[in-house]
Amino acid sequence: MSDASATMNFGRRDAADKLRGRTRYTIDRYLPGMLHAAVLRADVPSGRIARLDIAKAARMPGVRAIVTAADAPGMVGIGIADHPLFARDVIRYDGEPIAAIAADTLIQARAALAAIDVEIEPLPVVLTMADALAPDAPLVHPDWRNYEVLLEGGARGGNVAWEATVVRGDVDTAFARPDVEIIESSFRVGRQNHVAFEPRAVIASYEDERFHIETSTQVPWSVRNATARLLAVPASQVRVTVPPVGGGFGLKFDIAIEPFAALLARASGRSVRLVNSREEEMLTCLFRENAEIRIRSAVTRDGEIAGREAVVLMDCGAYGGEQIFLTTMTAHTLGGNYSLGAVRLVSRAVYTNTAPNGAFRACNGVYNTFALERHTDEIAARIGMDPLAFRRRNVLGDGDLGATGQVFEGDVLGPMLDRMDTMRDAAAMPPERADGRLYGRATAVGTWFVFVGPSAATVNMNADGTATLVTSGVEIGSGSMMQALPQIVAGALGLSPNDVIVRAADTDAAGYDVGVGGGRTTVSLGAASLSAAQEVRTKLLKVASEMIEAAPEDLVMRSGRIEIAGAPGSGRLISEVAARAQGQIGPISGTGAFTGAGVPAMPGCVAGHFIDAIDIPVFAVHDCEVAVDTETGHVEVLSYRVVQDVGRALNPRAICGQIQGGVVQGLGYALHEEVTIGSNGRVCQNGFETYRVPLALDVVPVEINLYEGAPSIGPLGTKGAGEVPILNVAAAVACAIADATGKPIRELPLTPPRVLELLLDQRSTLSLPHIAEAWTDNLVRPHSAGGSN
């Protein structure tokens, strides 16, 4: 096929209906006769359920079914199965589900919730990671040893749900070298709420002893499998379909409220609609986790990083969830940017009695990049080197080792820094301002990865010359399903992308898929789709060669025709060939499957990791200028520039849209999106009034340069482009504010009060006493002194 034929600024076919208000998201679907459901949630962060009586609620008007923990015996999780559907005897966070009710109307369902008789005896509470790691801390899961282990290898103990480590080389020796400076930095970041505009929503039915779940999710197969596990039914009894999704950002990368609706549908025999209220979304949204980080480096005067160690504490809330997996990412987000000598890293998911956290765009990466880049600037300041020169000296290049011993291919970050220099130099110099504000700028680098994993696709060739792509991919707004995939299939078959129909996700119709997230759609589903299309192509060319009387290798597919190469207008329409094939040998289809081959780590240097190394690294360089108001602490972003490694830009316009949106979401994280937890264990920001996301007046146009040509195993050389744009934003903004103010930036978000405190030297030094001074004292599973390898 011609590679170039897949590259274009193909517009979105779903745009017109979205603009007309016609698109039916899950929240817009109303089935005849359906019931409405509501969930009773705990209002204490920790307690024992002394009494739970649903008899009175069951007699309330309109009530058709009530379900509790007795109806859902299973436990789910990643790495360890620690999470029941309903609180079972014990409450572990404020907002934890206790029961669910289906009634004729939502008002009736909510009224019946109030009639459930529940008595909870308070238990000791741990709300912070410092509390959780204290020597005599109460255990959030006293029976953690009894949980089923789904992946061997992670160290666990007490309130440490999971621990992943990297030990490569001899860090103690590196730190003892006489020619190094030792620089230590500590950081703390808060939680971020996705604020996907469509709340999590589901409609479930139970027919012929099978569940049908229509849901707003990024992971139809995960919902299928986890629902079955929680309900203790075979996974084959669950079908998941997905209407258009009104935003995800990782929020919908996990099971949510689907099993409640499924249970109620089975119990009532009716379809059941369950939609989270905005308050439920705000309080239990699987936030980007709060984290605490200490990094220490041994660096020579001429800028060589001889050794580095870090401790990263990730608050997983009451259940392990995605953080268990994300402990893996520290190895790559702290160890995939710069050449390192010896390195040791530990990443710990810590239980607290707070709402569980989850995945959020570039999860784990945004705060580790913030921490690493601020630490990098502090190193440069200590050794008296220009921060950009220090980065240029140390960014990973061809053949360099990442933290896990992975060998990186290609010089990518260095040329990207050069390109950023060019963009910056080409920009008009900002005018001299005499407004009393402080001005600063910074350039930050970051490394992310495409989470590959398995995907499947089928392409059915239709007799009218169109092709139908069947996958479990979901369109969550990024355009991967509406633009990239049809372009890839169309490119292989010589069709217009408009002639590629994309089937909505349906686990009964399409093969297994990990889900839409981690920038993997264009790569994994794209590769499976390309493979399926190529099988169709081979079959079509065979039929066409008989019709045209030419060898298949002499034929090309372009513009809806199969032609003899070099003879435009010869041959037949694809529709004619497809129709002939259908009559003679049966309808033509092709199937494709893909997964990453896996990149090995250096033997023995990692423990507790879900993946050893990065299949497809993705690099980004961001640059921004800020002005800081010394009277108010308000930060204005004056300019923002991005050079992003995209492998190959299939749809440049769509990618640039992702970058602008991702940067703005990152500006919110950096400057004003703040989730806090009160002394009662409840999230304080329960709506849009108290949680401030970026408005049009807060943002600037992002100047974008797409860097193409870096190595990738993605189809046609692609990489995922939607996840990465948020990665470096907090780092770039924080470094620019530090440049402007000369103050150490240790915490996010940089709200006006926090910046003002820094300016007035009223911000006390960040202290993290629960991170032990000696790195090895932070481990559940000790490593031998001096490390290995």
């Binding site: 355009g479 849209g657 602008q660 979401q665 049009a696 943002v699 992002v702």
Partner: protein, 152 residues
């Protein structure tokens, strides 16, 4: 008690509780699901409708108070069955991502195009503060509005 509404030129009656938010009546009785109840606090703009030509969050308006007004939802903004100028510009600019905020955006921007044909980039940014978008970073929406103003 029966309530009487005029929505997109059609006369509708509703038996809803008079304090029910207008957005819920539109969605659940008329299946006009374009208006999205996203924040239910009047902040996000996703449920914006025109009440006698003025953009109004339909989550804050009790349905009884909407009687007697000309209510126009995004479903009623098409021109001859096609996209109106701002809808066309948003489509041409590839501005739409998840799309949940766009019905409300279209309502607000259709009003801006009508009432402020000389709007500048800063005017547009200011006009959009009542319509929050979590996906796009606004820039494409602003570009599309400028395009619609230029081609009007």
């Amino acid at each position: 008690m029966s309530l009487s509404l005029t929505v997109n030129g059609d006369h509708l009656t509703s038996a809803a509780d008079p304090v029910t938010p207008l957005v819920d009546v539109l969605r659940e009785e008329s299946y006009l699901t374009g208006a999205k109840p996203v924040c239910r606090e009047g902040f996000c703009g996703a449920c914006m409708v025109l009440i006698d030509g003025n953009p109004t969050p339909s989550c804050l308006m009790p349905v009884a108070l909407a009687q007697g007004y000309d209510i126009r939802t995004v479903e009623g903004l098409a021109v001859n069955g096609g996209l109106n100028p701002i809808q066309a510009a948003l489509e041409a600019s590839d501005a739409v991502q998840c799309g949940m905020c766009f019905p409300g955006m279209v309502v607000s921007l259709t009003h801006l195009l009508t009432t402020c044909p000389e709007a500048t980039r800063d005017d547009i940014r200011a006009a959009l503060t009542g319509n929050i978008c979590r996906c796009t970073g606004y820039e494409r929406i602003i570009e599309a509005t400028l395009l619609a103003l230029a081609t009007k």
